[in-house]
Point group: C2
Chain length 318, copies 2
């Protein structure tokens, strides 16, 4: 048997037996499942608290299960293993959140909440309220994994897309056509009156807090929907409630809120043009499936000696 | 002035003044708006009842505003003008209906109806019910304009698509990849247990009546959504109500019903896993915009001597 034919031993932790999806991903990636002392790689599906204090010298690579790995740095895990390559799950979970954003936007634009309350055939009353994304401008604030996954979903609907990132450098990637306009965040003020709808998909930082406030909402259209799948703090909730109640905008679709969880009795639960989903755009069962896809791709890269996806840079911290 | 520089005179009827969108489409298509006696073409935005009994001999082409033109044949309008080319609006309205189908499917799969009734942050209760189209199989019954418009919208969501047409000849068109599986309608019985979701987009004919009945519904999955944007008669309503009430399928998203309008008090209005929109997937304001796009394209083809879109074959009857 030539060395190339000996499957690479890969361990999965912490639970025993490991989830079937992960076992399948490792095997389909061309490796074999092994115990940790024999393994050349470790696929970790648990939190940082359960992570082994020591790893055997055979381990060259560790795949972590999170897209954001602050907690792993804080726990000192990467510092403890300077000679081991770590990869995160960055990018793996973006598709589900993007799909959720598309769902919220379409449901809003096509007047679904009112339809679901109708209980009666109110065709002529509803006709003027049924909108489309065809020929409309959708601005996506944040061109990270979620934004880049959402763009190809909006393109075939005939929407014009403005992507907003920090630099203004054109967003590129699979399924992203040249017709997408990229603008730097400093030009956001000019975008509000131009756009039909806004999807917030930017990280929560001190600069992005209340990125959408009373002034921004006032410049949108009475038909505009504001979608937030990032973090609640990016929108000024009180200003949003005001804009929804007055009809200054068409509606809001929120998978994240401020505060979160949104307390019972909050106006966002009762406003007819607000759709709230309880931060469930990426539920555990879809996370596991997406993580397994990511693991399969990375195991295949590892066994064939190619660059791994989402390598963690210990200097940069992500 | 060379003949090529004399703009082609085109009339728009019946309302005066013609809708701005249509006037714009004619002019942007390279023609000039004229009165009927001077016109070489007539863009008709009204019904067959208002259509002129006689057309001046200058008229070579008439653009009708409907995708299905049975009423125009019945009224004898095409027979009265055997030397004039007629075009329909076939294909022009498909995108809006396809967008609506996508909205209904996503809203169902992502459990939106229950979210809208929640009024409270029920994250852990909802998690297991939030699904995805990623990696799921969606069968589109009918590969006409709506089906062919829907396929490119589903592709970037990572769905596997089965298109069902009469012949089984591979469906092709812009944005339709080779990975789409095309099967002939005679194989439908094999598809029900294989598919995750079904979108009905086939014409209503004697053969398609109750295409989805008790037997078909029983073979779908408890997570399957059935979407109908074609005609109510393609689904056996009583069987559907039974499958929804028992949880045999995940849910139904219906823009068309049988009977239509759906009477007050019908079970489909109250079943929590039914979404009913009152045949408003293509409301008048979107129809006009889509018709104007179609007119613009056809006027441009007419003025440059190219084949027109959606020519009506008087032998075939559509």
């Amino acid at each position: 048997m030539s060395p190339a034919e000996v499957p690479v031993p890969v361990a999965i932790g912490p639970s025993t037996p490991a989830p079937t999806l992960l076992r399948k991903a490792v095997v389909e990636g061309g490796a074999t499942i092994a115990d940790l002392p024999q393994a050349r790689a470790l696929i970790w599906a648990g939190g940082p608290g359960e992570f082994p204090d020591e790893l055997p010298p055979s381990v060259e690579w560790v795949q972590l299960p999170a897209a954001g790995v602050e907690d792993w740095f804080t726990a000192g895990i990467l510092a403890r293993h300077p000679d081991i390559r770590f990869t995160s799950a960055a990018g793996a979970f973006a598709a589900s959140v993007a799909e959720h954003a598309l769902m919220l936007l379409l449901a809003g634009v096509r007047y679904l909440p009112e339809h679901l309350r109708a209980g009666s055939w109110r065709q002529h009353e509803f006709f003027p309220h049924v909108g489309t994304l065809h020929g409309r401008t959708v601005t996506i604030v944040g061109a990270g994994g979620i934004g880049r996954a959402l763009i190809p979903m909006l393109v075939p609907l005939g929407a014009h897309i403005i992507a907003v990132n920090r630099s203004g450098r054109p967003v590129t990637g699979p399924g992203i056509p040249d017709t997408v306009e990229t603008l730097p965040a400093e030009h956001l003020a000019r975008i509000w009156p131009r756009t039909d709808h806004v999807v917030i998909a930017a990280p929560a930082t001190p600069e992005t807090k209340h990125l959408v406030g009373a002034e921004e909402l006032a410049r949108l259209k009475p038909s505009s929907w504001v979608i937030n799948v990032a973090r609640g703090s990016l929108i000024d909730t009180d200003a949003l409630v005001g804009a929804l109640a007055s009809g200054a905008i068409g509606g809001a679709g929120l998978d994240v809120t401020d505060p979160e969880p949104l307390p019972d009795g909050h106006p966002l639960w009762v406003l007819p043009n607000a759709i709230v989903t309880p931060h469930d755009s990426n539920p555990p069962q879809l996370r596991l499936a997406a993580f397994a896809d990511h693991v399969g791709a990375n195991v295949q890269r590892f066994t064939t000696g190619r660059d791994l996806l989402a390598p963690i840079d210990t200097e940069r911290g992500y």
